[in-house]
């Protein structure tokens, strides 16, 4: 047994190809980004060492600040929407829905499997105003809300909201399934006992379920956070960052700086900022789980 499992040649065959590929394509580029971030211009074109200058540029760059604010708003709205509605749906599956549980669950989960770009194109047409009214505007129009008919994606005030709605619509079912699984794991005795003690409705949720659901809530938040920090695909497909910079995320700004303006050095700084926000934010959210474990 030991000889078979201690076979060094087999270990090498099993691990090395994946290790080399992973190192070359995931790890080396991250380290490489640090190196790039110390240069100005782009490789082969005015490529000069400039020390920390790119990092100082960050504080003076209004576009960066705008993207940071847009990205922040997006994270806040979508995270609350996805996790909150997911939890609400799961509670509904658990306590309200007697029949057709799996049918409703299948339907609600369905948008999760759709390609982001296809969803983006679809919603672009739903919000459309020119050349014809899209679904939303035509429904509003025939219901008599003529003053609500507007270019949903064409104005800065509504574009981000429309984007958030789309992403919540897509992922709500995903979070509801996660929460529903966690609710099923709670022994029914506990809920029964609480009900006998006269605890029901909101109090049942507040004092009995929510502490038990805390670990999975933290997991869901980390998941939602790391998905929303990367904000790129859905916004690219729905609005392309516009109007103006109203829906341009950090990733999209970085992409533009790197591949349209060819400022590879500065774009690397932006890439590192995204990396740090992603890791830092997830660890901070993760802390909530640890602190609750220490309490017990």
């Amino acid at each position: 047994m030991k000889k078979v499992l201690g076979n060094k040649g087999a270990v090498a065959w099993f691990v090395l190809p994946a290790l080399i590929l992973y190192t070359a394509i995931v790890f080396v580029p991250i380290v490489w980004s640090f190196y790039y971030s110390l240069f100005s211009g782009s490789p082969g074109l005015k490529w000069k060492f400039c020390g920390m200058k790119n990092y100082f540029l960050l504080f003076k760059d209004k576009n960066f600040l705008d993207a940071l604010i847009v990205n922040g708003k997006y994270i806040a709205i979508v995270m609350v929407g996805q996790v909150g509605l997911g939890l609400l749906l799961a509670l509904m599956f658990m306590f309200w829905l007697k029949k057709c549980k799996s049918l409703v669950r299948t339907l609600v989960f369905f948008p999760v499997v759709l390609p982001t770009v296809a969803v983006g194109e679809l919603f672009a047409k739903i919000y459309e105003i020119q050349p014809n009214y899209g679904l939303l505007n035509s429904v509003l129009d025939s219901l008599g809300f003529h003053n609500l008919v507007q270019a949903w994606l064409g104005q800065a005030s509504t574009a981000l909201g429309c984007l958030c709605f789309m992403d919540i619509w897509v992922a709500m079912g995903f979070y509801s399934v996660i929460f529903y699984g966690a609710l099923l794991d709670i022994p029914y005795d506990i809920i029964e006992a609480a009900k006998i003690d006269g605890c029901s409705g909101f109090n049942l949720f507040r004092y009995v379920l929510s502490p038990l659901l805390k670990p999975i809530t933290v997991v869901a938040c980390v998941f939602s956070f790391s998905g929303t920090v990367k904000m790129f695909e859905s916004a690219t497909a729905l609005t392309g960052g516009g109007p103006g910079n109203a829906t341009k995320s950090l990733s999209m700004y970085m992409y533009e700086v790197a591949f349209s303006y060819n400022k590879v050095g500065y774009a690397s700084v932006l890439a590192l900022v995204i990396f740090l926000i992603c890791i830092g934010g997830s660890s901070i959210i993760g802390l909530f789980d640890k602190s609750s474990k220490e309490d017990n």
Binding site: I25, M92, W96, V108, F110, P131, V177, A258
Partner: protein, 281 residues
């Protein structure tokens, strides 16, 4: 007593209406998309957008498939996704097995090293990767995408597989070894068949990740004969002009339908697979 009963019925009806509305909100856009893809151009100006299609105008699909290059995009997406999935599964099982069941120095360090990648955002590696590919003349090749897909799929897949492998009892392997199984035979005839559930989970999860990839294919591929479905859709409007709604809807529907069918057949496995990343991660 009667009042209580009436209240209960009212509450039940309200809940039913709410659930019904919810299902409508989740499903109606998809339904609308399918009907819209069968409309003629004139229907858009004559009738409101929510009207049903008056006929079945399949020419939209023909347009999208041939003039819109959807046939090519589909082929590319299929090749890229399946080659990548094949290697992801092989690597995930072999590395997962090596770091959980085999005895060698540094295995925990290697496991942790792979785990680090779970949180890495794709955009962080994008710029250097583009430069590396550029120097190696890999831009505009399928290889560039497939390599990136495999590498970025590894961390989570290995993590999930190790979770499944930990619960695999050592006795089964011991019995096989006593019967004279070598390490490679053990892997092929004992471990892989027992890991079926784990492998399905990884396949489902990674299939959707890779099939939906936009950022890599957008960055590394500019040749339209190598574009995938996602990048193809994105540039579709440029090729057809924003006004040919029928063809746009047909192409979007076409990219959605295969997934819809797969989902309706395998919905339980897919729901489990997709959420495993969060629940076990």
């Amino acid at each position: 007593m009667n009042a209580l009963k009436a209240e209960k019925i009212a509450k039940g009806t309200l809940i039913r209406i709410f659930i019904f509305l919810l299902c409508i909100v989740e499903i109606y856009p998809i339904f609308w998309m399918i009907t819209a893809s069968l409309k003629q151009q004139s229907e858009w100006t004559l009738k409101p957008a929510y009207a049903l299609n008056s006929g079945f105008y399949f020419k939209n699909y023909v347009d999208a498939w041939t003039r819109g290059n959807m046939a090519v995009f589909f082929k590319n997406s299929l090749i890229n996704t399946f080659v990548a999935l094949f290697f992801i599964v092989i690597f995930a099982v072999t590395v997962g097995f090596a770091v959980t069941k085999m005895q060698w120095q540094g295995r925990d360090a290697v496991a942790r090293y792979f785990q680090l990648g779970i949180m890495v955002p794709v955009v962080t590696a994008l710029i250097p990767l583009f430069q590396i590919y550029n120097k190696m003349h890999l831009i505009n090749t399928r290889t560039s995408l497939i390599l990136a897909y495999i590498a970025f799929g590894l961390s989570l897949s290995i993590y999930l597989i190790t979770g499944y492998l930990r619960s695999l009892p050592d006795e089964i392997m011991e019995a096989a070894v006593i019967d004279g199984c070598g390490i490679y035979k053990l892997m092929w005839y004992v471990v892989i068949p027992l890991m079926k559930n784990g492998i399905i989970t990884v396949l489902v999860l990674q299939f959707f990740f890779k099939w939906n990839d936009l950022i890599f294919s957008m960055t590394f591929i500019s040749d339209s004969s190598l574009k995938t479905v996602q990048t193809g859709l994105l540039y579709f409007q440029d090729e057809f002009g924003g006004k040919n709604w029928g063809a746009i809807f047909a192409s979007v529907t076409m990219s959605v339908l295969p997934l819809l069918v797969i989902y309706l057949i395998l919905n339980k496995a897919i729901i489990e697979g997709m959420t495993a990343g969060a629940v076990k991660g």
